[in-house]
């Protein structure tokens, strides 16, 4: 007997409309802070992640401003070290790891699957608060004193420097658990919560990418957990496992750290791939080219990502044989990444492309991620890396992938789903201008760093030789342009909350379930009745009939509905 499942499904029509959508149905602060609704938890993440991004961004602007001219300007060498460490730590653990899964993943995953919620809503809320606690501890560490280790916490320095390393390792440990629980939740949700008819090859590519991300989160993060726990004990009790003064091995720490932190960069970039797939399909009005190739290349990247951590340690003292092997496997990652890029381009071929703001971000992504990927292959080449290691070249490469890849994809996704999340449209002209500013600023900031790095400018220095002055100044000016673009985004999005035009249910003509089967803002329980999926996620030619069917739908035959629900696995 499964009638019970229907107890919260109000019949179509009046009752549902009176109840309001997911924003308006309950208004107290508590109904947001303790909500088990995946959409509201997604919004909580969005706000927190945005604050972390602002903080990390301000640190970055300060670092760049200090580098405007050689010598110490307004930051001492020590505070410079703290600034770039905080920039790295806040951006990596506070922003870029949780941003897309926590915000868009939470909001969209059940909608994409045709489910009412994730598999474990309480665990979902707990993940959010663990993450929040982690961010709070990072801020405590900031107040408590110097964190000057960089985001990598290399021993033995991190075991000997100031006490705030204790807070930071705790923060990373806790935020790590938030990430693990989110991953478990999403994997189970994809496996067990799909609507009837939602087969694996009808999943939107965003789901595939979030699924691959979750695999990495679940398999890699525990190793980070034990690593920072050992570092915590090393700092507190001097247990000596990583401390050469006590006979320990600091290289072991690097192996542990990169066993997590290399897969972690795929935690950061894979969700971006998913967003870009959605954007390119919708704004080209084309069925995605090579659906399975894109889907499985995400999984391939997730798995290959576990086998390449040694390429961070070419000059750290590992054996030559392992360096060669790690270098070769690193090249392999270029294959699935290339498959994706070519498939996206093939999707656009002969499509009717509209250059709306989200699409501009998707196109920026294609350019920037390709630069990020190609420079990545270059630092993966054993001999070249010996020259480029610890120079600005690596900084430039990393930021092309993380800012040019993930952040740009997040911005694109934010604009694309903004009407669905808020029910409002933003100002399109301002959106395009901001996208242009960000694209120009980003290239100016980071391409100059690639050039400086290849000429031998080392990373993490607060001073430099006079011949680098011009390039450093260009890079700083670029950071201002990018900052201006991002502030513009913040302003027009906030304005649109109050003054924006009301959006319809499907302003872009998207074909995934959140566009075709929910109102302008989704219902608290997502769908008035469980969708029965009969098509793939990119069949744009069928949208008119689908939307019509959705509007006219009559209360379902109870018996038939039970039958359909029992069929799904």
């Amino acid at each position: 007997m499964t009638e019970d499942k229907d107890r919260n499904e109000t019949p179509q029509g009046q009752a549902a409309e009176e109840r309001g959508d997911y924003v308006t149905h309950a208004k107290s602060i508590g109904s947001w802070l303790f909500s088990l609704d995946h959409k509201r938890i997604g919004i909580l993440y969005a706000v927190t992640v945005a604050i972390a991004f602002l903080l990390g961004g301000v640190f970055a602007l300060l670092v760049r401003a200090e580098l405007l001219s050689p010598g110490e300007d307004f930051l001492s060498a020590q505070s410079y070290n703290q600034m770039f460490s905080l920039h790295g730590i806040v951006m990596v653990f506070g922003f870029i790891i949780p941003a897309i899964p926590g915000f868009l993943g939470n909001f969209l995953l059940p909608l994409h699957l045709g489910a009412k919620d994730v598999a474990f809503p309480r665990l979902n809320l707990a993940s959010y608060y663990l993450y929040l606690l982690g961010v709070a501890l990072i801020l405590v560490a900031m107040v408590a004193g110097s964190v000057d280790t960089g985001w990598t916490f290399y021993t033995p320095y991190s075991a000997r420097t100031g006490p705030s390393v204790l807070f930071l390792t705790m923060a990373v440990f806790i935020a790590g658990f938030a990430s693990i629980f989110t991953g478990i939740n999403f994997i189970v949700t994809v496996h067990k919560m799909r609507a009837p008819g939602m087969t694996w090859n009808r999943l939107p590519l965003f789901v595939w990418s979030i699924y691959s991300t979750s695999i990495v989160q679940v398999l890699a993060t525990p190793v980070l957990g034990i690593t920072v726990l050992l570092l915590f004990l090393e700092r507190l009790l001097h247990i000596g496992i990583f401390d050469p003064a006590l006979g320990g091995d600091p290289i072991l720490f690097q192996h542990f750290f990169w066993f997590y932190s290399h897969p972690a960069v795929y935690i950061m970039i894979l969700p971006g791939f998913g967003i870009v797939s959605e954007l390119i399909a919708t704004f080209s009005r084309q069925r995605i080219y090579g659906y399975m190739a894109i889907a499985l290349s995400s999984v391939a990247i997730a798995l290959l990502g576990f086998l390449v951590w040694g390429h961070h340690m070419f000059v750290a003292g590992q054996s030559v044989v392992s360096s060669v092997i790690f270098s070769l496997i690193t090249y392999l990652i270029g294959i699935p990444s290339g498959i994706k890029v070519f498939n996206w381009i093939a999707t656009m071929y002969k499509g009717s492309i509209s250059f709306k703001t989200p699409m501009l971000y998707a196109l920026s992504f294609l350019v920037l991620f390709t630069i990020g990927g190609v420079t990545g292959i270059m630092v993966g080449v054993l001999a070249v890396d010996v020259h480029l290691h610890d120079t600005y070249y690596v900084v430039g490469h990393f930021h092309y992938v993380m800012v040019g890849g993930t952040t740009i994809a997040l911005l694109g996704g934010l604009h694309y789903w903004w009407p669905k999340i808020t029910g409002r449209l933003y100002n399109e002209a301002a959106g395009r201008l901001a996208a242009l500013l960000v694209f120009v600023g980003l290239n100016l900031t980071f391409f100059t760093q690639l050039v400086m790095g290849s000429r031998g400018m080392p990373r993490r220095y607060n001073d430099y030789l006079p011949e680098f002055t011009f390039l450093h100044q260009l890079s700083t000016v670029g950071s201002w342009i990018m900052g201006a673009g991002l502030f513009l985004v913040a302003i027009y999005l906030l304005v649109s909350l109050f003054r924006g035009k009301k959006a319809g249910a499907n302003p872009w003509g998207g074909a995934t379930l959140e566009w075709t089967h929910t109102g302008p803002r989704p219902d608290p329980h997502n769908f008035h009745r469980t969708p029965f999926v009969t098509r793939g996620p990119y069949e744009f030619d069928r949208i008119p009939e689908l939307v019509a069917a959705h509007r006219d739908e009559t209360p379902p035959d109870a018996q038939q509905n039970v039958h359909l629900n029992q069929d799904r696995t």
Partner: protein, 222 residues
């Protein structure tokens, strides 16, 4: 369902009281919970794997030091703890079986016996630790046991304390969870239609047991 009597409907309501609204059926809810637990156990294995790697690395580098240092551990106490934990795995399995067959009394008794065995394990651990502290065997820098002066010996004990310590934390968590389940079982929360928490706690407890089965020979016997 119009001809169902009110009493039958009430009985049906009660047996489905555990079903969350976002699941279609009890089976789906159970499968989801179980899959989530297995994934969590994978993360636990990976958490410990870091420590096993550290153990392996130092053991390969300094086999003779490990051979000497491990003689300080008492294999009889370790063996006793192994037997205790294996016994608790049996009782937790019996508890799951009792829940599946609606034997509430057997369920409660088996859960409490498991808790007692877990507590006994921690008591033995307590005596082992205090004995070592008494001798001055502390991890790392604070090591002060003069009979073992070699350089790497303190690292062996660091690894010993970290591995058994984190395992001990897992035992304590298990004690908390199993006690809570036993109290719920007394109030009749579990029956053959709904025993998910008992089964999941059982899975967790078996993992704690298996990790000890690896720790015991690696630290005490080899």
């Amino acid at each position: 369902m119009a001809n169902t009597s009110a009493a039958e409907q009430a009985a049906q309501e009660r047996s489905l009281a555990h079903l969350k609204h976002y699941f279609v059926s009890s089976d789906q809810q159970f499968d989801a919970a179980k899959m989530g637990m297995w994934l969590f156990l994978v993360t636990e294995v990976l958490l410990f794997s870091g420590m096993f790697v550290a153990y392996a690395v130092y053991r390969v580098w300094y086999p003779e030091v490990f051979a000497v240092a491990s003689t300080e551990l008492n294999p009889w106490l370790g063996g006793l703890n192994t037997v205790i934990l294996l016994g608790s795995s049996l009782t937790v399995a019996l508890a799951i079986h009792a829940a599946q067959t609606d034997k509430r009394r057997a369920l409660v008794v088996n859960l409490f016996v498991t808790v007692l065995l877990a507590a006994a394990f921690m008591v033995v651990k307590y005596f082992e630790y205090t004995h070592k502290f008494h001798l001055g065997i502390f991890p790392g820098e604070h090591f002060a046991y003069e009979e073992m002066g070699q350089r790497i010996v303190p690292i062996f004990f660091s690894i010993y304390y970290v591995m058994t310590g984190i395992h001990g934390v897992h035992v304590l968590v298990g004690i908390g969870v199993l006690t809570w389940l036993a109290l719920r079982a007394m109030r009749g929360h579990f029956h053959s239609g709904y025993y998910t928490p008992v089964e999941l706690a059982g899975l967790y407890w078996h993992l704690v047991d298996i990790i000890w089965i690896f720790l015991f020979p690696l630290l005490y016997l080899i």
